[in-house]
Symmetry: C3
């Protein structure tokens, strides 16, 4: 077995989900490991990861809108508001989704279901550069 | 270290949690690896995984009922409704729980707590065949 | 590659988040593996793990208060109430956060973001001894 590790940077343009499946697929294809797992770790507490349907964009729009309503910005008792009204909701949305997501692969190909994609979920309103640590391990 | 990978198929009979601990235990027991991690990856976006109490079934009933109320089917503004009223809630429930769950094992035995079990959580109303990729790695 | 596994025990003093980053950092530093992943598995269904901001304590207070309101104790239809009003909410909060959390490391150092810490989240009101299985694998 071997382990391979590097960092990917993604530039977001504000709140929403950004598909990163192709970049992960490419990392797996070129690392020389045939069978194993690829783990993505999000080095931030105001964005997160989620595996979601990648066929019909309306599924992601509904997911994003639903979470926006569950965790609204106008919560009067929030203390942690220094960076603006989207600061604390971003942390909560992160905690409800995933900091680290791990995908299996075989013969150099991701073993995703037909409609699955991996998404970086930006929870802040402003654009950000987001760093994900990719760790690939296997045979 | 070695890596071992295969797919398990589970047939669900509609919404609810289905314990799969025994199948995972058997996969670990027979793979020849003694100490490491077993990772289950759910190849779908309308069912998910969760580690939950497996002693008293009322705990799972309450968990399922609570999530049904948090993510109801009758949301008027959902766009993604082609497959029925349980379609979009299933994606949301999946995003709030886990696509990939990883359990440690030692001497061929899962290191679960006394009351822990691993469950496949079907979020669709109709029966489905669900594919989980099992990846076991360790010494 | 090698795998290293042991159990850490933490004593909580009731509901709240407890930072465990230093203990994980120490486990990685002393295990002899340079590059890989460290996985923490929580052997309980009424506490959980979360990566959260560790700079400003108000962020954690708001996160905890928000989840307490999302999953209140006074739900009249809960069946699973034998251990008290905090029993079922604890299971639900666990299911919405993480049982297993995995962090990458390189050259013996955790690759956390500047403001990230790992927290054990106690969801029960009474103090508990909580067992986490640490599995470290890599080169």
């Amino acid at each position: 077995m071997a382990v391979f590790q590097h960092t990917l940077v993604f530039r977001t343009s504000g709140r929403g989900t950004y598909e990163i499946t192709e970049q992960v697929r490419e990392a797996v294809r070129t690392c020389g490991i045939r069978t194993g797992m690829v783990s993505l770790f999000c080095q931030h507490t105001s964005c997160s990861l989620v595996v979601m349907e990648n066929a019909d964009p309306s599924a992601r729009r509904d997911l994003e809108a639903w979470l926006d309503r569950l965790v609204p910005e106008d919560v009067s008792w929030f203390e942690h508001t220094l960076e603006g009204p989207d600061d604390m909701p971003a942390h909560i949305k992160m905690a409800l989704t995933r900091t680290c997501e791990t995908l299996p692969f075989s013969n150099g190909s991701l073993l995703l279901g037909t409609w699955q994609g991996l998404f970086l979920w930006e929870h802040r309103s402003a654009p950000h550069a987001r760093h994900l640590v990719v760790t690939i391990f296997g045979d």
